[in-house]
Symmetry: C2
Subunit: 254 residues, 2 copies
């Protein structure tokens, strides 16, 4: 059963809650990413291809890449509308894009994501099931033209910061929640930058999973000293130096 | 202007989101506490006595005590209704109680909280303003009869666990969010207990504030070996041994 094209576009409304703001009083990038994931989950649930549906077949969705560009962070109590749709797919990856709008319909953020299907037993990627073949919304361009080329490698780090995985960092699969890598990368950025600049562009490449008891090390490199502050972040597991996640962040002055 | 009694009862509906569940697939106690705080904030905002309103007078609300009893944790996607009302006050403290219900109206959790007013400049408690005198809902009994007697002192700890304060632990006032103390206390409980038991009763007494860069130490003592597992937790700041928070947790078998 192929859903009609109109069912492939999903809209969900959020009101920024008191506990979703950061220490600047704006919706935190973590909460924004949570809104994206919530809308994506609810859409996939409505389409009967959510993690809950796939788990019955022994497979699950795994987030591979995430790219968020933020125009403006909403304030506490603002209404935020997330539009999301499956934007493309090939044998290995399914893409899902996002437009985040304010109440007046102005775009305040755009995002694109790339997802793999993993076999739960073997923990290895498998092909995107053919049944998902028709699930591409064709009425809309990508929210952002990103081919998900490899993120730049860290060359020379100036910052090193270590974190212990906490119980509250874990998701339903007992792995570290995708958001924590974002939090750790942000925390590695010098305080004067997150005080005076705004995170405008965040790219994340997920590579391996961390578990409870792991210790993770964030290495961060500031790329230049121009108007914008750009960083490459590499997050490794301390005990075997396996790279778990690579990120880039770009901060613009307020 | 005194609001009518009916305005002193607030109802707010939440739907359990994908990122609000714990590693067992149930609404986490942290997210439940967030729901309580969100409903409390929105109610106080409607009554024009929220932190935002008080800040204009140089004062703010500070959570002093929290007691949550959970009958049953809702599932992902369940609808949860939080009822809250100002339940009592004296010169030093204002109480706010909570009933958490499922869609069918069955109570799944109860909670009570005690709040102080703090002068933002001096960081010292001040009397509850007289203008708040009429803000007590008299139509309903307390959700739970708790006089907020002092929590038991830790006698002999079996567990010691250390945490570094993370950037993402901070709230708008640059202090550690009240939830983190709960997370840290829970994480100090042995894994076999949070795997096989359910947190049924949680009491928290807030005493002092931690900041970014602080290292906190959780000491936990298991009180007995009866059917229920009971703990006393004391969270100290490492550099001056100041007690920041004291908690008790009671876990019942599933």
């Amino acid at each position: 059963m192929t859903p009609t094209q109109e069912k492939l576009l999903w809209r969900e409304t959020f009101r920024v809650r008191s506990y979703e703001i950061d220490s600047k009083g704006k919706l935190s990038i973590q909460s924004l990413a949570n809104y994206l994931m919530e809308a994506a989950f609810n859409h996939s649930y409505a389409l009967q291809v959510s993690v809950i549906h796939l788990n019955r077949q022994g497979i699950t969705w795994v987030l591979s890449r995430l790219h968020i560009q933020v125009e403006r962070y909403p304030d506490w109590m603002d209404t935020v509308i997330v539009e999301t749709w499956p934007s493309d797919k090939n044998d290995s990856f399914a893409l899902r894009d996002f437009l985040v709008k304010d109440k007046a319909g102005r775009v305040i953020a755009t995002a694109t994501t790339s997802w793999m299907i993993m076999d739960i037993q073997t923990r290895r990627p498998v092909s995107i099931p053919e049944a998902l073949g028709d699930l591409v919304y064709k009425e809309k361009d990508r929210a952002m033209n990103d081919n998900f080329d490899a993120l730049p490698q860290l060359e020379e780090f100036q910052i090193k910061k270590e974190f212990n995985v906490r119980l509250s960092d874990l998701d339903l699969n007992q792995h570290v929640n995708f958001l924590n890598y974002i939090e750790w990368a942000i925390e590695s950025v010098p305080p004067e930058i997150w005080k005076q600049y705004i995170l405008k562009d965040l790219q994340v490449s997920y590579r391996a999973e961390a578990k409870l008891g792991d210790r993770v090390v964030v290495f961060s490199e500031q790329k230049n000293e121009k108007e914008n502050k750009e960083f490459v972040h590499s997050i490794l597991r301390a005990n075997d130096n396996r790279e778990l996640t690579r990120l880039t962040s770009c901060w613009k002055s307020k």
